[in-house]
């Protein structure tokens, strides 16, 4: 691939508490890709995403988005530039209604008609949210909250979407639905996706490429298909 990466990390280090540190991480994501970052608990996957979103200040290295350096910019300026994250645990605003949660996803936007259009689109993708639109976010089930979190992210019309453990704690049927929608927004809307998952099998099947993280370091990167076929990876992360 010769085009410019939409996201590039150059030797990034950061620390989140003491155990979840990352050291010298380098990775590239190209427009239109679905890239997964797999690894065990505590390998630094969420730390990586929080660093990209500029919520966590990095201690070394550089982060480029769209060719511009973004590390050190205030986190709240990134959504309007198309960089959006669905964090671990979904972090729905519990005492805002479903509708209000979605509206907050479009907080920086002023185009009323566009916002309404996108909200209808979210309701099309996740019909259950339409039924629950006046309910508080905190009263939804885990799967509904994951849908709401993704819907909220889509409300910002992202170009790069970071998804942190979208399958965590969900029933298999819901997980399938979530991954179908990830594929759909990637293929139909052209949203580039970075996917962090413990469920490596699922993540790699939905991805074009993957990075393997171990104790804060990238130990391997390859095409998703190749990683799925790699015996070491199969042994360590795919439960064989």
């Amino acid at each position: 691939m010769t085009q410019q990466p939409i996201l590039e990390l150059k030797n990034v280090s950061a620390a989140y508490g003491r155990i979840n540190a990352i050291k010298d991480i380098s990775l590239k994501v190209y427009p239109g890709e679905v890239v997964s970052i797999i690894g065990a608990n505590g390998a630094g996957k969420s730390t990586t995403l929080m660093s990209i979103s500029c919520v966590l200040p990095i201690t070394g290295g550089e982060i480029y988005y769209d060719g511009e350096r973004i590390d050190g910019t205030p986190a709240d300026l990134l959504p309007s530039r198309g960089l959006c994250q669905v964090p671990e645990g979904r972090r729905i605003f519990p005492r805002l209604t479903v509708e209000e949660n979605l509206d907050m996803g479009a907080f920086f936007r002023k185009d009323k008609a566009g916002i309404e259009h996108d909200m209808n689109r979210v309701f099309q993708l996740f019909p259950i949210l339409l039924e629950r639109r006046r309910q508080h976010g905190g009263t939804l089930s885990g799967g509904e909250q994951q849908m709401l979190a993704m819907g909220r992210a889509l409300m910002s019309r992202p170009r790069l979407l970071l998804l942190d453990e979208p399958s965590l704690g969900l029933a298999p049927l819901i997980v399938q639905q979530i991954f179908r929608i990830i594929r759909e927004i990637n293929e139909a809307d052209g949203v580039t996706v970075v996917l962090v998952e413990q469920n490596a099998n699922l993540a790699l099947q939905a991805s074009t490429r993957g990075y393997v993280l171990e104790t804060g370091n990238v130990i391997m990167e390859d095409e998703a298909k190749a990683l799925l076929a790699n015996p070491d990876i199969r042994k360590a992360y795919l439960g064989e």
Binding site: A75, L77, L78, P79, L96, M104, F107
Partner: protein
């Protein structure tokens, strides 16, 4: 008229009178309590300097109203112009206090910020004393005079004005917090600051705005208390401040409806306790309530379990 009936009638009159006074005072406490509860809701800080903002509002009111009256403007103009200007002034003052004394301590322990708030309270009170003097300053007497009688209770026009302004401000605040986008952003920030940053909300700006709104409400309360009692003093913020804080705790700290309810209850209790038990100990009752609530019902009336109107 039989004496017994006359006596009963007197009781009803007295009760009605206290009810009217209680609503007036309770509304004012509610306005101040909102500032405590909103700031607590968003940064978990008990803003001790809030009572001083109330006092500063009272002073700004007396200064502006005196000047406007001396220029010969009609009372309605004097009052509304003074209210708007003083509320703006207090909003800016509170934003400056936040920027100076609280924002640099955002990542420090809660105790540090609390102590900073105490320091700010002392600083502002002394500032008022040094610039305005230690003696009472009288509000122009000719502002709103007279009243009327209903069922034996005398309602002054001043009370009507105060309750009217209070209701207007409370309704306005409810619309702002629960109907507008900026209100949604305030509630989102109170609920999860990291996530609100991830959707593009600038939490510093929202926190600053919260201080400004709370201060504007306290300022209006300060002006109305000044008009009601006829004068202001540099230390007038302390006792109403603690009572309004009690009201916020009673209602469930962090909850907007709770603060309104708590203010009304504290005002009622104070007035009725003064009327039926002892007027000399009227200040004690609010504090008894505070201790009682903290001891038996720490989450307050609308706390934790009744979530709907927490910021």
């Amino acid at each position: 008229m039989a004496p017994a009936f006359h006596k009963a009638h007197k009781h009803v009159e007295f009760f009605l009178q206290q009810l009217v006074n209680g609503i007036t005072l309770g509304g004012v406490y509610a306005l101040v309590a909102l500032g405590y509860t909103m700031v607590y809701g968003i940064i978990q800080l008990i803003n001790f300097a809030h009572g001083e903002i109330f006092a500063a509002g009272g002073y700004m009111g007396v200064i502006l109203i005196s000047w406007l009256v001396s220029q010969g403007y009609p009372p309605f103009i004097c009052l509304s112009v003074a209210l708007v200007l003083a509320m703006g002034y207090c909003a800016l003052l509170a934003m400056a206090v936040e920027k100076l004394a609280y924002k640099p301590l955002r990542s420090s322990s809660r105790l540090s910020v609390l102590l900073s708030a105490l320091g700010m309270s002392i600083f502002l009170q002394n500032g008022l004393m040094l610039t305005q003097g230690v003696y009472d300053r009288a509000y122009p007497g000719e502002m709103v005079q007279g009243g009327f009688e209903i069922g034996g209770a005398v309602i002054s026009y001043m009370q009507i004005v105060i309750v009217g302004i209070t209701v207007l401000l409370l309704v306005g605040l409810n619309i702002l917090v629960f109907k507008t986008r900026i209100g949604k952003a305030m509630r989102a920030t109170a609920q999860d600051k990291t996530m609100s940053a991830l959707v593009g909300i600038n939490s510093s700006r929202i926190i600053s705005l919260t201080f400004a709104i709370g201060a504007a409400l306290a300022c209006a309360a300060g002006i109305m208390v000044g008009m009601y009692y006829g004068s202001v003093r540099y230390d007038m913020g302390f006792v109403p401040g603690v009572k309004a804080f009690s009201a916020a705790v009673l209602g469930g700290i962090g909850n907007i409806t709770g603060a309104m309810l708590g203010g009304l209850i504290i005002g009622m209790i104070e007035v009725f306790a003064a009327g039926y038990i002892s007027s000399e100990y009227k200040d004690v009752f609010a504090f008894i309530i505070l201790i009682g609530v903290l001891y038996f019902m720490p989450t307050g009336i609308m706390g934790e379990n009744v979530d709907d109107t927490r910021v």
